[in-house]
């Protein structure tokens, strides 16, 4: 039933004509985008292009000055099935005072889905274990997070988002500064969620080389949307569209 009550035009995430900013200054103007089930969308743009502001609007943390947003067909502040949306914040700094294991962190991601006041069931434990294994952290599941590498910690946060078996995953720069092997594992995990579970993925990142081969659509943002199409289309028409090389991740330069 919840699955049916969805999505404007089949989109998990739908935004039209978003203008937003802080005070009187608009950081983004007339931005429209969609993420559909099973789609892997990358959002790129130079520093200060408005990516973070756009994410805040999409997730309901900032009210736009104009335009509308729908998450699973509902306005962000009326969207209550939050577990359907997995969110991986930008480089979450978790300097835990008290040791906390990967499993304990990942289990937090399951709270919204089962109801935070309910007991953990066998199904919850299976989902948590599955999330841990999908990011290849099975061997260190019971180790304290602060004993792991930055890349492993980042994968633990992705697993936390996976634990609720989300239908839409939004990741804010999750692989920046992470070693190449970890980037590869992150990519495989995202691909698994997308292909096996039909989830939509919105990845905001400067470093797309690790996921270049799995991106369905790329959106270039610089205050407004400069381009929205497949990577191949961007490679073919990017320059003629007037997109400056600085606006694009390095890997695209090779395609041009």
């Amino acid at each position: 039933m919840a699955e049916a009550a969805v999505e404007i035009g089949g989109s998990l995430l739908w935004a039209r004509g978003i203008t937003a900013g802080y005070g009187r200054e608009h950081v983004i103007e007339r931005v429209s985008l969609d993420v559909r089930p099973g789609e892997f969308v990358a959002l790129v743009g130079p520093n200060g292009s408005g990516k973070s502001t756009l994410l805040r609007v999409l997730l309901g943390a900032l009210r736009p000055d104009a335009g509308s947003v729908a998450l699973f067909g509902a306005e962000p502040d009326r969207f209550h099935a939050r577990w359907r949306l997995g969110y991986v914040p930008q480089r979450p700094s978790l300097e835990s005072e008290v040791p906390a294991t990967v499993r304990e962190i990942v289990a937090s991601g399951r709270l919204r889905q089962r109801g935070w006041w309910r007991r953990e069931t066998v199904e919850d434990r299976t989902a948590i274990q599955h999330a841990i294994e999908s990011v290849d952290l099975g061997d260190v599941a019971d180790q304290p997070l602060n004993e792991l590498s930055v890349g492993q910690q980042q994968r633990a946060f992705i697993a936390r988002a996976f634990a609720s078996e989300p239908k839409l995953l939004v990741l804010d720069e999750p692989i920046a500064g992470v070693d190449r092997a970890s980037q590869r594992r992150c990519r495989d995990s995202l691909l698994h969620l997308q292909r096996e579970h039909g989830a939509g993925v919105l990845l905001v990142s400067h470093e797309l080389s690790a996921v270049a081969d799995v991106i369905d659509r790329i959106i270039v943002l610089k205050r407004s949307i400069l381009f929205d199409g497949t990577p191949a289309e961007l490679a073919a028409s990017g320059v003629s569209l007037g997109i400056h090389a600085d606006d694009l991740p390095l890997w695209l330069e090779g395609l041009r």
């Binding site: 997730l59 943390a61 209550h80 939050r82 969110y87 914040p89 979450p92 978790l94 835990s96 005072e97 008290v98 040791p99 906390a100 294991t101 304990e104 962190i105 289990a107 937090s108 991601g109 709270l111 919204r112 935070w116 006041w117 953990e120 019971d142 180790q143 304290p144 602060n146 004993e147 792991l148 946060f157 936390r160």
Partner: protein
């Protein structure tokens, strides 16, 4: 007059038996709450709330009411006030604490002086040997409420104290649960007031956690070990204080501090493989 249960010395009197139960109960549940406060980087909140509770003690004495209940009202209001100021970022966490800290103690002194009471030592430093059966019952009751509250909310409390920004984005009821944690903290402070005193109960919230986190590798084990260390420190401190005729609350906290020193040494001698990864 309630007869003492036949137990070996030094627990052969009713007073020592009540003190044993009260000290071990406070020793166990103070660090249980403390683990969440330490994880939230609010290790000193117990101290601040203790000072606010002192204002409640002063008012209770002035009005001729039970100081425990007025202290509880002030402590809960103070703990929630600090939490709200911190959460709304109206004021820095430590500044919010300082504000309540100093205003609370000053108000307590003014109220107590007005009431003509100058012997406030039992509230500040506790006296477990002076526990009546009703104050013991209050300690055990509050301890039970805290234990049930923390047990039921442990997973969600862990989630919000560990990564508050993420928990908010996830739509967890961060503000409501932070207020619940603040109220439980206040309850522990007041329960511990007549046992180890307002000035030292905060130490029992933090020191056993500081020791346990050196020796544990998960949050769950840290909480359980901290409760064990707190209870054991209370047990040993009570015996030492009673036999050597020293301040029992002081001895309890000194034992907890000594455990921390030992835990630090043990931690340093752990295998280098573990250390190198930290």
């Amino acid at each position: 007059m309630i007869a003492a249960i036949p137990l070996p010395y030094p627990f052969d009197t009713v007073e020592m038996q009540r003190a044993l139960l009260a000290c071990v109960a406070v020793g166990a549940f103070a660090p249980t709450i403390g683990a969440f406060l330490v994880q939230k980087r609010l290790s000193l909140v117990g101290d601040g709330v203790g000072h606010v509770a002192f204002a409640g003690v002063g008012l209770g004495l002035l009005l001729g009411m039970s100081a425990v209940w007025t202290a509880l009202v002030f402590a809960v209001a103070g703990a929630i006030g600090v939490e709200l100021l911190r959460a709304k970022k109206k004021i820095a966490g430590d500044l919010a604490l300082a504000l309540f800290f100093y205003a609370g103690i000053a108000l307590g002194v003014v109220f107590a002086a007005k009431a003509g009471v100058d012997d406030l030592e039992i509230y500040l430093f506790g006296d477990p040997l002076a526990m009546t059966s009703s104050s013991l019952a209050a300690v055990v009751l509050i301890g039970g409420i805290v234990a049930v509250g923390v047990w039921s909310l442990r997973r969600v409390l862990f989630a919000i104290v560990t990564d508050e920004a993420w928990a908010r984005a996830e739509g967890l009821p961060v503000d409501t649960l932070s207020v619940a944690l603040a109220a439980l903290t206040a309850a522990v402070i007041v329960a511990g007031m007549k046992v180890v005193g307002l000035l030292l109960v905060a130490a029992l919230m933090v020191l056993p956690v500081a020791s346990a986190q050196l020796l544990s590798r998960s949050f769950r084990r840290t909480v359980l070990l901290a409760a064990g260390i707190g209870a054991a420190s209370a047990f040993v401190g009570l015996i030492v204080g009673h036999i050597a005729e020293l301040s029992i609350s002081g001895c309890i906290v000194l034992v907890a501090a000594a455990v921390f020193t030992v835990a630090s040494v043990v931690r340093r001698s752990l295998p280098a493989a573990v250390e190198s990864q930290v």
